[in-house]
Every structure is written in C-alpha cells, then in structure tokens.
C-alpha cells in the first residue's frame, strides 16, 4: 500500500479525521525532536518543544497554506518554539545555554560521544540565528530555499547568514581545541 502524502493527511485532518494527524505526528516527531534538541540542547526541553509544535500545528491547521510543504511549516513552528523555550529559560534561570556548554566530557566517553558534545557545545556558543541555519542546513539537510521558507527570509540572506555562521563556528571550535576528524576526511 502506498504511503499517504502529508498533504492528503492534512486534508483529511481538516475534514475532521484526527487520526490522520496522528500519522503526521508519528512521521515527523523524530525530526522535530532532533531539531529542537540541537537548538535547545536539553532533552526534556526538546520534548516539551516538540509537544508544543504539534499542538500548535493542530490548532492552526486551518491556517496552513497548502502551497508550502507541511514539514516546512512544522519546521517554522519548531524554530519559533525553540527560540521561545530558550528565551523563557534565560528569563527564569538567567542562562542562555552558553553556560550549559561546559566541558563535561568524561574520560570514559568514547571519541564519537566527545566529538558530538564538542559540536553541540560549539553550537550553543553561536547566536540563535546562526545556530538555526547551521542546524537546518547541516543536521536536517535542507536546501537554501527550504530554509528561506522556514525562516521567512530571502534566500540571499540565508546564504550570507549560513556562511558567516559556519566561519564563526569554525573559529569557535578552533579556539576550543576541537580535533578535526582527520580519519573521516581521509577515508
């Protein structure tokens, strides 16, 4: 049996079939959770953000413009909700995530875990604007055009923001002494 498209499921949901929305949740929850996790870093916060993203999407389904892809719209809500979560955390705890970027790698952690942690630490040192484009481009594999739609910005702005974000990220990792993964590039 062929899988129903997001657009079909949205249509059915708008006609009152809530179970169609369950399928959309199943389909996209992992991606949305990962996007949120890379943005906010905290596992529980990422789960809260994901929950809020789908609830908002459901509540606003009638406002979804079908000329755009459903997942782009979800991404947009996810980025906004992540920013809200970071802002709330900052307000209540006086932290902006950078403080969380402490070097906490245990000796027993393997190389892959340490590398991931260093990357995430570096991400949290970027501004949220820069972090969003890096996450959407490199961790979600989206095109310039898709990112532009999600962030509601011109493609040209996305490119220049991404290029400067990458440069900044490279400098941050260099300062933090992040090992370049020569084994990966050599293979």
């Amino acid at each position: 049996m062929t899988e129903q498209s997001d657009e079909d499921l949205v249509r059915q949901c708008r006609a009152g079939e809530i179970k169609s929305f369950d399928v959309l949740v199943e389909r996209h929850q992992r991606t949305i959770f990962n996007l949120a996790f890379r943005m906010v870093r905290d596992f529980d916060d990422a789960a809260d953000v994901s929950q809020s993203v789908f609830v908002k999407a459901y509540e606003n389904l009638e406002r979804f413009d079908p000329q755009f892809k459903f997942f782009s719209w979800l991404y947009r809500i996810a980025v906004n909700e992540s920013l809200n979560a970071l802002e709330q955390k900052k307000r209540f705890e006086g932290l902006d995530g950078n403080d969380l970027a402490a070097e906490t790698a245990d000796e027993k952690d393997d190389d892959a875990v340490r590398e991931e942690r260093r990357i995430q630490d570096g991400l949290m040192m970027l501004s949220v604007d820069q972090r969003a484009v890096i996450v959407l481009k490199h961790m979600q594999g989206l095109s310039y055009r898709e990112i532009a739609q999600i962030l509601d910005l011109p493609e040209k702005t996305i490119k220049s923001r991404l290029f400067s974000a990458r440069q900044t990220f490279k400098d941050i990792l260099k300062k933090k002494g992040v090992r370049r993964d020569d084994r990966r590039t050599a293979s």
Binding site: V25, E26, N34, S50, V55, Y58, I77, H138, F163, T185
Partner: protein, 249 residues
C-alpha cells in the same frame, strides 16, 4: 575573482551548490591559492563533522504525550473545519444538506452586505480608532489582530523633531514577529529573541523614534499563530500630532 567571490564559492561547494563550471573554476582557484585551499579543507571537514552528528532518539512516550494533549484540547472547542464535518454528519441526508447550505449561504451573504455596505468598517482586523490616515493628538491606544496576517503600521509626526513612542505588547503565549529598521528606531525593554538586523520576535517592549515631520516610522508585523495580537500605544511628545496608517493583509 575577488577574495569574497572565492569565499562564497568555497561555502557553496561545501553545501553542494556549485554547477560543473563553477566547480572547475573553484578547482583552478584552489590550485593557485594555498590559504583558500586550507579554508576549503577546514570547512569541508566541518560540514562532514556536523552532518555526522547522530540523531537522538526522542522519548518513547512522546507520541502518546502529543496525542493526549491534542485530544484534551479538542474535547471542547473543535477546529473550524471539524465543525463543518460535524454539521454535515448532523444534517445527514444530502437534500437537507443542500437546502441548509443555501439557507446558510443566504445568511452569510446578508451578514457580509450588512458589514461592508450598510455598516462599513475601516479595517476588520483593527479595533479602536485605527482609520487610515486619521490625525491624532498625544496618544492613541488600539489593538491589531494579526492572526496569521501580515501588515504594516506607519506613523508620521506632523511637526519637526517630535518624538514618537510606540508601546507594543504582544500576548505572552503568542508569537508576533515585528520587523523594523534598526537605524531609525530605538528599542527599549524589548524582549528580543532574534536580532542582528533581521526580523525580531518581540513579545513586549517600547519602540521609540524621533520623526522630522516628513519621516515615516514603519513597523512590519506578522502574526504567526491564531490569536496573535498586538496592543499598540502611540504617543507623541509635547502634545504633538501625528497620523497613522495600518495595513493588514
């Protein structure tokens, strides 16, 4: 090729965005330029490292949490489309549905005629005195319903050097995006989520500008979600006058 153009080619190559001819052009430039070669290698390695970060497994109960949350919210008010579906189920037979549709259509048409012909409104999305171009004194407060809408708010002081103050308050749980020209507008106490010259997401705060009599101050807003609303107060210093214009689309 300038250094800036070369840097752009390198970045676009990391993103896999180059055409075959651009790739050849880049390869030639890299052969001639060791520092560009180094940058290219570093950015490529960075791109690989970022793409290799593994996905994180969401909590096992996330889907159930989301489902439960949504169902608890729809047990009372259903989304509009769902109500249409329920109405269809209630009316049952196609003929009843047809007559009902005609009757309802007549009612809606009548209501629209009343709203737009008999009882015209300056803007359906603005409450308070927000008629286009109205000349106002001192201060004016109104609300703009920006649910899923885009629009602009422009204020023009009628006298030179009068300072205008916008007090913007958005619902705490709603997302309203307000963009502004940072070179013209001073923001104070604004809860700002995004910045660096791009769109700012503002929940509450004060926007100030000094007009010269002919200069306009324009804020663009986007209501991301249903029920996004901005409460706006515009005040002109020393009793000066100003006109304002609101466009919602």
């Amino acid at each position: 090729m300038t250094g800036e153009q070369l840097r752009e080619l390198i970045h676009r190559d990391v993103d896999g965005d180059l055409s075959p001819s651009e790739q050849r052009e880049l390869a030639q430039a890299l052969r001639r330029n060791p520092s560009a070669r180094k940058l290219h290698a570093e950015l490529t390695a960075l791109g690989t490292a970022l793409s290799s970060v593994p996905q994180v497994e969401p909590p096992a109960n996330l889907v159930n949490r989301i489902r439960a949350d949504i169902r608890s919210r729809i047990s009372t008010p259903e989304p509009r489309r769902t109500r249409v579906a329920s109405l269809r189920a209630l009316l049952g037979t196609p003929s009843v549905l047809r007559y009902g549709t005609v009757f309802t259509g007549g009612l809606v048409t009548g209501a629209l005629l009343f709203m737009f012909l008999i009882h015209p409104q300056p803007s359906a999305n603005v409450s308070g005195d927000a008629a286009t171009g109205t000349l106002l004194t001192h201060a004016e407060t109104f609300q703009i319903d920006v649910s899923g809408a885009k629009g602009t708010l422009t204020a023009i002081p009628t006298e030179t050097g009068k300072e205008l103050t916008f007090r913007l308050t958005c619902g705490a749980s709603t997302m309203t995006k307000i963009t502004y020209d940072p070179s013209r507008v001073k923001l104070e106490n604004v809860r700002e989520v995004q910045s660096t010259g791009g769109p700012v997401v503002v929940n509450e705060g004060v926007v100030q500008m000094t007009g010269t009599g002919s200069q306009k101050c324009t804020l663009a807003f986007t209501g991301v979600y249903r029920d996004s609303r901005i409460s706006v107060q515009i005040a002109c210093a020393e009793g000066g006058k100003f006109s304002k214009e609101i466009q919602v689309r």
